[in-house]
Symmetry: C2
Subunit: 134 residues, 2 copies
Amino acid sequence: MTSTCYKYLVVTISRGDAFDPDCPTRVVLDRIGDKWTALVIGSLEDGPLRFSVLRARIGGVAPKVLTQTLRAMERDGLLTRTVHAQVPPRVDYELTPLGASLTGPIATLTDWAETHLGAILASRGDYDAAADAR
Amino acid sequence: MTSTCYKYLVVTISRGDAFDPDCPTRVVLDRIGDKWTALVIGSLEDGPLRFSVLRARIGGVAPKVLTQTLRAMERDGLLTRTVHAQVPPRVDYELTPLGASLTGPIATLTDWAETHLGAILASRGDYDAAADAR
DNA sequence: CGGGATCCATCGCGATACTG
DNA sequence: CAGTATCGCGATGGATCCCG
């Protein structure tokens, strides 16, 4: 961790305002840390999808919430929203280059998660067992 | 994104239960996506710190919330909590190898965030300006 | 000093119903 | 089809007070 951004994080920590809304890591974490954004990115990796298909692929997401997620991502320039003037309505969502480039960092996180999930789950088991014993 | 974990994500998506609590990416995202965990990891990178120092370094975090964060991280095996039997009490927190290894993926995310923050903020500005115009 | 206990504000998220 | 409107729950995070 030697990037300027990390320095920024350290600096903001020492300044006591690490939650400066312009802290890059915070901005990104607030976006992909929500419940559906990472899943949307994964679903759109192979190409554009329309609203209903996206909704079916992800499963279990309420229309309102999916709309919220997509709007936030559009606002951040992660995807484009294309309305086709026809009946019935058809709206396509497609990752921008910016959004597609986020798959890299997510993959890194995903690889780490896959490698270490066992350790995390085991640690949780131990911790809870020790707590129960008391 | 060709890891097994990503396949797992895709599979769980197609199964409609992508929020299976055992989805590795979800577990990790739920932890580092919270408000303070990433900051704690950054603060502990250079060595162990005691509670009060950690609290001062991060700034703006309530004792209760910091305790919650540290306990969750301890439960997941990301750090160790060492109570020194002395008066006044002294408790040290230190990253485990597992916790330290998380700095890699976080750095990747941080680098991406630093590189693209400008584009995100610009996109937000455009989006909001267009919305205001209406 | 390092919390535990309690109360509380906020907000993400979800279920349901309705519409251009 | 692709949303919007409304209602409301539950979890996170915070403020305050207290204790070993």
